[in-house]
Symmetry: D2
Subunit: 312 residues, 4 copies
């Protein structure tokens, strides 16, 4: 498999981790979900991220799931593996195992309790030193979840110091100015241009593509929208991109709700035939009948809109 | 002026506080903004809330602004006044002054550093005791900003204990299940049905109206959308409500960004002729040229969509 | 081994987890540390807590360490095993494994992101249901680390609902009134009197024993102080307890510093011959020469004071 | 009055703000409290800080209290005035008013919601620009309360850029390494040596004096201890400083409790005759009978210890 590099673009879908109703890993659904993502045209797959419930897996389960997905993908697209962990040793072992098994790169969020720029910078420098130069890294900037804020100057210094950082998962919120600053200051300084893929479900995908993002790395249950929007922007037709985006926005906003959003996402994937059960490992969201009806209503409206616009 | 009561519904717009470019109170714009809101059909106006930059006003400025708005409104709709403050004495004085000047009620968020249910409950009980039974209270539940979480059981106990609580500004996020639980548990217990108006810019307004909200109390710069959606739901035509909502959703989501959102909202109000300057008191967001163009693009798309749908 | 019950008192030391300088588990030091604690007169040992760096161990390492300590203790005192984890399944497996291997009970902190009383209560009810009635539970209330606040009413309801909760690790800060309220309200309600052991290094141990605590569950590197203070209070001689406590207070306060405190504690344990290396798994505190000298100064002062008072 | 400068040292006591039992400003007690502080030998007085309940005063009250204290001090020691506020305009006006009335300088904490180094740096640069070069500034670094973290590089850049920053109130916790780094890196860079006074009640005062602090700026109700410890260190007798410190440490640790600590501090000041009422403005801590007895016990122990050591 080729390694992840700065040219990465398009949609790297954040994969859910499917469980059975009783909470066991569902490897058959891992296969069908992988197929679903590939059919929708994703450029890559990111597994074992936060929305992949990685922190609720044992290390053994993580390894089994990783191998299953890598086998199913079979080199067709790059697979990025989330390796964030409280212990540097664990990050190192997970990352090296992932690369050995065929991952294209790893995704890394900062550890907890980092509150100043030097602390954040040192965190990434320390881990990168352990990983060495051969493991391509996607740096995840997701302060709503990690409570750690990575400033633009820190990002620029890390990009300069660490050639293995090839990608940024841009997930700060609000974060659009940050993205613009990163691009403009990086250019002013003559730094490498890394790949920037956006998160947050894609809630600002059109604006972020206009500001210099290369695509999305997020898990919205309708990946085809993300793919089409990225393609429209790449083709120089942003208006078409926004038209498509707007059709899905009510559902996107709905799935964006922290907490219950994961339950809604898995249920949408289940309804779309991608996985067999929408179960989230406990503690986690469980949809009630009102949630289900609300989702049904939004999905029916989407179908109607796509039909009206001839986009289905 | 009649006092605020449990039958309140429709749109209570959260008013911006207009400043001149140099940061002085702009009272002429206070008038034009009030007119703007009234023309758009709001049912009430809420001043001196968080998005009204109340914490950046001196007490004297707050009083001047309050009196100006009350005079301009001149009893046509109820005016609710935000009175949240670190000191109970201050809350009491602000609330009584507001009522003396003709406010219909006050809005109150919990103080800082309340971390358990009994602490939150005692906070509101203490303040309500100071205010007495003659000051109608809108309880604001906005944990993203206050960091204080008010559970459904606490709300129900407060509604039972304090007849002066007539309204809830529902602004938890995600918060839809909380709204459903509040309505169903309140009914099961045979409690008074209070007015529930939703915040967060109205990001989930259609779903929340379906779950039992009576309207919106938020400051989206296109109040006519909020008004029309509420009217459609009240008229039994939720599909029409959602159609209108969806047209504005890209802009609503855009304005929803914490921090810069206030700058975008004031700029939109300025472009729409409601106020003379989009200035936010410092420290606060300042739009750059990319932000301005982005906003222009979204506003142009809105115009086109409304025209297509015959909604303009 | 007898199971943990409500009569537990004295000092349940929070055990460090010893590593070699290169970060491997140091099982020989696990033995010597266990011996050290037992020689100092502790009534119990708690392993795999937060200060035991449990979150930096693999599950396999945790199991190896647990079995080593259990074997060394060999039933002389009860061993409590920390089982907090993001996934209920993991808590359940860890707890059942621990009990199978001979633990006396488990310690459980609430999961992340619980912000209201009902959420905290439901968390413990859910986990307790999974664990069943045969696993004695020490509920850990440590909001500075977990960011979760457990109110007195929630504790009382849990004590009433769940006979398996036999102990509370009281570690809120400030938390003395909470402790008094728990004792008085529990008595008023006629509830079971559970064991309450205090944390935070023992920073308020004398006051907390006076307010109804039964002892300490914390990891101060001079466990003999904790033991002697508890014995003095149990013997009806609080003045002697406070005299002893005060000698150690400068060091206790020093070790109490979050973050670097763990590094200082392990270094003190190393200097006292309890473990071979003071290494903390990375990322974690590393003492510099100023830190070392400062610690030396405080330790020398302690020796002099104990000699003066005839307490050595 | 001479202005605050980099040579400031010793104890700048953080003054309480005395209220009557009913919560009115108690100006007679403002006088007696000022006298009390001066009699204990403080080098300066800081008013309207967080422990001075500044956020619970109206601007008018703040001005009245400030003028009363300035008149009573009458130039005998420098008075520093806290001017932190959500609005830059307010900071500017408060600061200029304070200087006009005879303050020696102002104390400034960062505004809320600053999460990266550039944001913190820009905050202080913006405010300093408004204040101009004639207002000496004490930068307050108190992240436990403000939630804002000021890194050492930011402090150094601010010291270099802004000659008006003459003092740092060092109140990070743990913060000893930060203090050492600030001193060593400042020297390496050849920067101005600013005054550093420590907060947190003085919990680490001896260690911090050894690491380069110039004194304390905190509000412990026994200022004579802070004064004597600083004098002992200045006289080259740290052992004597630590001996004195250790006598008071049980009470210092007791008063250090966030929240209830302010109630304990005011009650101690009341018992010592410095103020007439221990009232804290609501919402705020109210001592119950157990709290009162506990405080009595600790105060009696202090008296005995000081008598034993001939320090009374």
């Amino acid at each position: 498999m080729n390694k992840l590099n700065e040219q990465a673009n398009g949609v790297y879908i954040i994969s859910a981790t499917p469980f059975t109703d009783s909470g066991e890993l569902d490897l058959a659904s891992a296969d069908s979900l992988t197929d679903f993502y590939l059919e929708k045209g994703v450029s890559g797959i990111t597994i074992l991220g936060m929305m992949g419930e990685a922190h609720k897996l044992t290390e053994e389960e993580a390894l089994i799931f990783m191998q299953r997905v890598l086998a199913r993908v079979n080199g067709r697209v790059p697979v990025v593996v989330g390796v964030s962990h409280a212990s540097h040793r664990h990050v190192e072992r997970l990352a090296k195992t992932a690369m050995d098994k065929g991952a294209a790169g790893v995704m890394l969020a900062p550890g907890p309790n980092l509150v100043t720029d030097p602390q954040v910078e040192n965190y990434f420098l320390s881990v990168a030193h352990l990983l060495g130069g051969e493991v391509p890294v996607c740096l995840q900037d997701f302060p709503q979840s990690t409570k750690v804020h990575t400033s633009v100057p820190v990002m620029l210094r890390l990009i300069e110091a660490l050639p293995q950082i090839v990608m940024l998962k841009h997930e700060d919120l609000p974060g659009m100015r940050k993205l613009s600053q990163l691009r403009s200051q990086s250019e002013t300084l003559g730094l490498r241009r890394v790949s920037v893929l956006v998160g947050n479900g894609g809630l600002f995908l059109p604006q972020e593509l206009a500001r210099g993002a290369d695509g999305a790395m997020t898990g919205f249950a309708w990946p085809e929208m993300l793919v089409q929007v990225c393609q429209a922007y790449a083709a120089g037709d942003p208006a078409r991109g926004e038209d498509i985006f707007d059709c899905y926005l009510p559902l996107l906003r709905h799935e964006f709700q922290y907490g219950i959003g994961l339950g809604l996402r898995k249920e949408a994937l289940r309804r779309r035939g991608a996985i067999k059960s929408a179960a989230v490992r406990q503690p986690g969201p469980v949809l009630d009948s009102i949630d289900q009806q609300e989702l049904s209503g939004l999905m029916a409206r989407l179908e109607r809109k796509l039909a009206e616009k001839g986009l289905n």
